[in-house]
C-alpha cells in the first residue's frame, strides 16, 4: 500500500471516532436532550380528584365543591361567529372579547386556552344551548370551592391559582392549577387535594395528540382528596362572629382537656364565598388593600397585644412556685404602687382598697400594687436582676408564651416574653432592675401575647398545670392525628398552686370585676384586663382608647371551655370582653342564652365611632 493512501485512512478513522464520541455525548452523557425530548413529545393530561370536604366537630358541612365552567378557545378553529351575541351571553364587552382573543392567539393557535374563567351556573345554562353556534369555543368543567355557611373565613382559608414562585418550588403543580392559599386549605393542602391522575399522550410537532405514550404504562389514577373534620364548633363560631359585629379583635376558645380549638374568631372578617371563582381577584385586592380594617389579618392568631391584667394570673403562679409569696401574703395598696424614688415612679391602682390586700382580693379586684410586689420579689429573689428575669421568663414561657405555639394553622406570631438578655440589650448603658421592668407585673411593658396564646394560658390554668398544643383539625379519614397534638405539655408550676389562683378567678365573677357578667348555673373563672395602648405618629407616642380583654374558663371543676377575648379600643375589660366571653361560654355549655338583654347589647354595640376617631386623630397629627 502506498504511503500516500494513509491520509484518507487516517481521515476515515478519525471521523468515525469523532462521530461515535459525539453520539456517546449526546445519547449517554448528556441528559439535557432527553428532558427536551419529553417536553417536545409528551403531553400530560391530568384528571383532578375532588378536593376533600370540611366539616365542623359536629359534622356540619363547612366546605364543599361546586362545578364551575371555563370557556375554552382554540383560535385555529374559530369560525365566523356572532361576536356580539357571544359577548352578551358571557357578559363581556366587545373590546374585552378582542383582548381575550388576542391573548389566546398569542398563547397558541392550535392549543386550547382558557378564554373566560369560571362561568356562573346561569350563564352556563344559557350558553350551553347555543354553544354549537360558536365553533372554536368549548366549555370545560372544573370544581371550585363552595361554603354553605358564611363563617370562619380566616380558619377555612381559600384556594387560588398557584403562583409563579410556587410553581418553581413545588414540582407537583402546573400553571393554572389551584392550591390552598391560606387557612386549613393551605395547611392541609396535600390531604385535601388528593393526587391528580396523569395520562401521557404522544404529541407531534404541531402539538396534536397522536396516541397514548408507551401504551399508558406510565399513567396513574387520581386519588380522591380526604375529608377533614375540624375541632371548630360552628354554632359557637358563628355566634362569636355575630358578637364581634362592628368591633375589632379576636376570640379564641379552646377545649382544655384536648387542646381543640372550639372557636377562632377574628373581626372584621369576610364572606368566604367571595374568594371563589371569578369574584376572587376583585375581592382579594379589596381586602388586602383595606389597611384599616385588615379583614385578611387573623387577629386571633397574629395580633400581638399587651395581655394586661390576665397576665397577673401567670405572675401569681410564678410567685407561688418561686416561694416568694404564699396564699397568705398581704401587701399594702394605697391607690397605687411606688416603685422608685423619682416623681412619677408610681403605678396607679383601681382595686378600691386602701390598706392591706390579700391574695384572693388581689386577683378578683385586680390589684396592681399586689402584683408589682409579687413580681419584684420574684426578680429580686436571685443574685442579679438578670438571673431573676431569666427564671421568671422560663416560667412564663412554659405556658406557651413568647414563641410559636405550633398549631396546625399556617400563620401565627411569637409574642414577646423578655428575659435577662433582652433587657441587657434594651438598656445597654443602664443598670436595670426589677423596678425598671415593673410594668411586666401587670401585663404591660414589654410583654406581648396573641389571643390564641392567652386562650392557651387559660386552658393550662383550667387543667391545673398542663396544656395540649391547640389545633384545628380533629380527624382526617385514615390518618392519625399528629402525636404532638395529643401529648400534654407541662407548665413549670406545681399543681397545688393552681387551686387558690382559680379560687380568685372564680371570685372575679362572684364579687370582682366581672360581677355583672355572671351566668346562672355555670361556675366561670375569669380575669378582666384593660390594656393601655399607643401608636407612634411622627415619633410621638399617642394614647388610644384601651383594649378590652378577658380570659375565662368554665366550669370551674372539669373545665369544658377556655376562652380569651380581645377587643380593640373597647375600654374596660368588664364592659365588652367579659360579657362577650360569658355569652360565649353560656352558648357553648347551654346552647341557649338566658340573658337576652346583655346579648342584645353586645350584638348591637358598635365601636366604629371610636375607630373612625382614630383615623381622624391620626390625620390631624400627621399634618403639622
Amino acid at each position: 500500500m502506498k504511503r500516500r493512501s494513509l491520509l484518507i485512512y487516517f481521515f476515515v478513522i478519525s471521523i468515525g471516532f469523532i462521530y461515535i464520541t459525539r453520539l456517546f455525548y449526546l445519547q449517554i452523557i448528556s441528559d439535557k436532550y432527553k428532558k427536551q425530548a419529553i417536553e417536545n413529545s409528551i403531553k400530560k393530561k391530568y384528571s383532578y380528584p375532588n378536593r376533600g370536604y370540611v366539616f365542623d366537630r359536629n359534622g356540619i358541612l363547612l366546605v364543599a365543591n361546586e362545578i364551575s365552567y371555563d370557556v375554552m378557545l382554540t383560535p385555529r378553529y374559530l369560525k365566523k361567529i356572532d361576536t356580539l351575541e357571544f359577548c352578551k351571553l358571557i357578559n363581556i364587552t366587545k373590546r374585552n372579547f378582542d383582548k381575550r382573543l388576542q391573548r389566546a392567539k398569542r398563547y397558541s393557535m392550535r392549543t386550547p386556552s382558557v378564554f373566560l374563567k369560571q362561568l356562573s351556573k346561569n350563564d352556563y345554562a344559557i350558553l350551553q344551548e347555543k354553544m354549537h353556534n360558536f365553533k372554536g369555543f368549548y366549555i370545560q368543567k372544573r370544581a371550585i370551592r363552595n361554603y354553605p355557611i358564611n363563617t370562619a373565613a380566616n380558619v377555612l382559608g381559600y384556594i387560588s391559582e398557584v403562583s409563579e414562585q410556587l410553581l418553581k418550588k413545588e414540582k407537583y403543580y402546573q400553571q393554572g392549577e389551584l392550591i390552598g392559599f391560606s387557612g386549613i386549605e393551605k395547611q392541609y393542602e396535600k390531604v385535601l387535594r388528593g393526587v391528580k391522575g396523569v395520562k401521557r399522550y404522544q404529541k407531534d410537532n404541531f402539538n396534536r395528540i397522536i396516541g397514548s405514550y408507551k401504551n399508558g404504562s406510565q399513567d396513574t389514577l387520581a386519588q380522591i382528596g380526604k375529608d377533614l373534620t375540624l375541632t371548630l364548633d360552628i354554632i359557637l363560631q358563628q355566634y362569636g362572629e355575630k358578637l364581634m359585629n362592628n368591633k375589632r379583635g379576636g376570640i379564641v376558645a379552646i377545649e382544655p382537656s384536648t387542646g381543640e380549638i372550639l372557636a377562632l374568631i377574628t373581626a372584621p372578617s369576610y364572606d368566604p364565598n367571595n374568594m371563589v371563582g371569578r369574584k376572587r381577584s376583585k375581592f382579594s385586592t379589596k381586602y388586602i388593600n383595606d389597611k384599616i380594617n385588615k379583614p385578611m389579618f387573623d387577629r386571633g392568631l397574629k395580633a400581638q397585644y399587651a395581655p394586661g391584667s390576665p397576665f397577673k394570673i401567670v405572675n401569681a403562679l410564678v410567685g407561688l412556685q418561686e416561694n416568694v409569696i404564699t396564699t397568705d401574703s398581704k401587701f399594702i395598696c394605697r391607690h397605687g404602687y411606688r416603685y422608685g424614688k423619682r416623681q412619677g415612679a408610681f403605678m396607679k391602682c383601681h382595686c378600691g382598697i386602701s390598706g392591706k390586700v390579700n391574695f384572693n382580693i388581689a386577683i378578683y379586684n385586680s390589684c396592681n400594687s399586689y402584683f408589682s410586689n409579687v413580681y419584684r420579689k420574684t426578680i429580686e429573689k436571685y443574685k442579679s436582676p438578670n438571673k431573676g428575669m431569666d427564671v421568671w421568663s422560663d416560667h412564663v414561657k412554659s405556658f406557651g408564651l413568647g414563641n410559636y405555639l405550633g398549631t396546625d394553622l399556617p400563620v401565627g406570631n411569637k409574642g414577646l416574653i423578655p428575659d435577662g438578655d433582652y433587657y441587657n440589650k434594651f438598656y445597654s448603658t443602664f443598670r436595670w432592675r426589677a423596678s425598671t421592668t415593673i410594668s411586666n407585673a401587670i401585663g404591660q411593658g414589654q410583654v406581648e401575647t396573641t389571643p390564641i396564646q392567652l386562650a392557651n394560658v387559660t386552658a393550662a390554668v383550667a387543667n391545673r398545670g398542663f396544656y395540649f398544643t391547640p389545633h384545628i383539625v380533629k380527624k382526617i379519614k385514615d390518618i392519625k392525628l399528629d402525636s404532638k397534638f395529643t401529648t400534654p405539655i407541662k407548665t413549670s408550676i406545681d399543681v397545688k398552686h393552681f387551686e387558690p389562683v382559680i379560687e380568685g378567678m372564680f371570685d372575679v365573677f362572684e364579687k370582682g370585676t366581672a360581677r355583672s357578667s355572671k351566668v346562672k348555673g355555670i361556675e366561670i373563672c375569669g380575669k378582666t384586663g384593660t390594656v393601655e395602648n399607643f401608636v407612634r405618629i411622627n415619633n410621638e407616642k399617642v394614647a388610644l382608647a384601651d383594649h378590652s380583654i378577658f380570659i375565662a374558663f368554665a366550669p370551674k371543676d372539669n373545665p369544658k371551655i377556655a376562652i380569651a377575648v380581645f377587643i380593640e379600643n373597647a375600654g374596660f375589660g368588664s364592659t365588652y370582653a367579659a360579657p362577650i366571653a360569658s355569652l360565649m361560654i353560656e352558648k357553648y355549655l347551654h346552647r341557649e342564652i338566658k340573658r337576652k338583654n346583655i346579648e342584645e347589647r353586645m350584638f348591637n354595640a358598635s365601636l366604629q365611632e371610636e375607630y373612625d376617631k382614630q383615623i381622624i386623630n391620626t390625620k390631624q397629627i400627621e399634618k403639622p
Binding site: M1, I20, Y33, S41, N205
Partner: protein, 424 residues
C-alpha cells in the same frame, strides 16, 4: 457483455453486501419517519416509504444495466460522459425548475431529476480518465491546473444554482489528487487555511493576529538559537510567510463578514457556538440533537421513537435520516451505522489500491472520497458539529436521484474491479 458470466464470481460481494445493508437500513428508517396513522401498508406507493421501494427496485435494474456494460465503455466514453454532465448543468439555466430558491432540477411531468447527482459520476470518470493517462505527472503545474479545472467547472456551475452544499462535495477530489502525487504543500496549505479560517471566525481576527505574530516570533527565535545562518539567509521568505498569514487573516475576516450570505454565516456561527438560536436558524439542529439524545444507549425501539413519530425533526426522511436511526436504535444502532460506513469506504479504498489500471484506481479513490465527504458533512450536520449543509446521506436518505447516482457511482467501480484480471 460476454464477460459477465465469467465475471460474476469476481464481483466484490462484500461491498455489495454492505451496499444492500445500508439501503435496507435506510428504507427501514424512512418507513419509521414517514408512516402515519392512515398509511402503514408497506406497498402503499402514495407514501414516501412506498416510493422509496420503487426507487430501490429501479436501482436494481440500473445495477444490472451497469454490470452488463463492458468496462471499455466507461473508459472510452468517460470524456463524453463528463461533457454531457457539464452540459446538463448548463442546461439547468435554460430549462431548470426552481425549487426552494435553487434551480437544481429538471422536471419531466411527475418525474424530476437532479443533474448535480449525475455530475459526480461524470466528474469521477473524467478525473479518472485524465489522471489515468499514461505518464500523467501530478507534480507538473500544467497537469495540476488541468485537474483543478476539471472539478472547478462543475463546482462553479453548481454554486451558481445556487447549491453550495453539493458543490462542496467536489473538494473530495483532493484526496484523489494527493494520492496520485499532488505535492504535499497543497494539502498543508488547504488544511492550515481551513483551520485558520475557523479560528478567525470563532475568536476574531485581532486575537488571531496576535497569536500568529507570537508564534512567528517564537519560531524565529527558535531558529535563531539553532542555526544563525539559516535565519540570515531566509529572512525574506519568513517575512513573506508572515505577511501572507496576516493578509489571510484580515481577508478571511472581511470576506466572512461582507462576502458571505447571512444564512451561511448563521449556520457557521451556530455550529461554532458563536450564536445560539434554537427557535429559528438553529431549530433543525436542536431538534435533531434532541431526537438523537432521546435514543439513549439502546434506543427507544423501532417505530417507537417519540421524536421521530411526532415528526419533530424537519427533513427527517432525507437529510436528517441518521437522527431517526440514532433515536430508535440508540447509541448501539448509531455507532453501527457509522462503523458500516467506515468499513464501506475503507473497503472501496482497499479495492482501489489493488487495481492494476490507473483509471480504475483513480475512479475508486474518487468515489470513496465522495462517499466520505457526503457521510462526513451529512452525519456531522445531524449530530450538530458541522454547519447545516443540505446534502443526502448516501443510500439511506429518501430520494430517487441521489440513490441512483450513488448506486451508479458504486457499481461502475464494482464492474471495473471485476475486470481487473483482464487488464495488463
Amino acid at each position: 457483455m460476454r464477460n459477465l458470466n465469467t465475471n460474476i464470481l469476481k464481483f466484490d460481494w462484500k461491498i455489495i453486501f454492505l451496499y444492500l445493508l445500508l439501503v435496507f437500513i435506510g428504507w427501514l428508517n424512512i418507513y419509521a419517519t414517514t408512516k402515519s396513522h392512515t398509511h402503514f401498508e408497506i406497498f402503499d406507493f402514495s407514501t414516501r416509504y412506498g416510493k422509496q421501494i420503487i426507487w430501490i427496485a429501479l436501482s436494481i435494474v440500473l445495477i444490472i444495466l451497469i454490470l452488463f456494460l463492458d468496462t471499455r465503455f466507461y473508459i472510452q466514453f468517460s470524456s463524453i460522459i463528463y461533457l454531457l454532465g457539464i452540459l446538463s448543468l448548463v442546461g439547468l439555466f435554460l430549462f431548470g425548475k426552481k425549487v426552494n430558491g435553487a434551480t437544481s432540477w429538471y422536471a419531466f411531468g411527475n418525474f424530476s431529476f437532479q443533474p448535480s447527482e449525475f455530475v459526480k459520476i461524470a466528474t469521477a470518470l473524467g478525473v479518472a480518465k485524465l489522471i489515468g493517462e499514461k505518464q500523467f505527472d501530478m507534480e507538473i503545474l500544467r497537469n495540476q491546473l488541468k485537474v483543478f479545472l476539471l472539478i472547478t467547472i462543475p463546482a462553479i456551475l453548481i454554486i451558481l444554482q445556487p447549491d453550495q452544499g453539493s458543490a462542496l462535495v467536489f473538494l473530495a477530489f483532493f484526496f484523489v489528487f494527493y494520492r496520485e502525487g499532488l505535492p504535499r504543500y497543497y494539502i498543508y496549505t488547504g488544511f492550515i487555511s481551513i483551520v485558520l479560517s475557523l479560528l478567525i471566525i470563532k475568536f476574531g481576527f485581532v486575537i488571531m493576529l496576535i497569536i500568529i505574530t507570537l508564534l512567528c516570533i517564537a519560531f524565529l527565535s527558535y531558529l535563531n538559537n539553532k542555526n544563525k545562518y539559516n535565519l540570515r539567509k531566509y529572512w525574506l521568505q519568513y517575512l513573506v510567510i508572515y505577511l501572507i498569514a496576516t493578509i489571510f487573516t484580515l481577508s478571511t475576516h472581511y470576506i466572512y463578514n461582507n462576502g458571505l450570505p447571512q444564512r451561511h454565516k448563521d449556520r457557521i456561527d451556530l455550529s461554532l457556538n458563536i450564536i445560539k438560536d434554537t427557535k429559528g436558524k438553529g431549530y433543525n439542529t436542536l431538534q435533531s440533537e434532541i431526537a438523537i439524545g432521546s435514543g439513549g444507549f439502546l434506543g427507544q425501539g423501532y417505530l417507537k421513537g417519540s421524536q421521530t413519530h411526532g415528526k419533530f425533526v424537519p427533513e427527517q426522511d432525507t437529510d436528517y435520516i441518521f437522527s431517526a436511526v440514532a433515536e430508535e436504535w440508540g447509541f448501539i444502532g448509531g455507532s453501527f451505522v457509522i462503523i458500516l460506513y467506515m468499513l464501506f469506504i475503507l473497503r472501496i479504498i482497499k479495492i482501489a489500491e489493488a487495481q492494476k489500471s490507473k483509471f480504475s484506481r483513480v475512479y475508486g479513490y474518487s468515489i470513496a472520497s465522495i462517499f466520505l465527504i457526503h457521510f462526513t458533512i451529512n452525519v456531522g450536520m445531524v449530530i450538530g458539529i458541522v454547519p447545516t449543509i443540505g446534502i443526502p446521506l448516501p443510500f439511506m436518505s429518501y430520494g430517487g436521484s441521489s440513490l441512483w447516482a450513488f448506486t451508479a457511482l458504486l457499481f461502475i467501480f464494482i464492474r471495473l474491479d471485476a475486470n481487473k484480471s483482464n487488464e495488463w
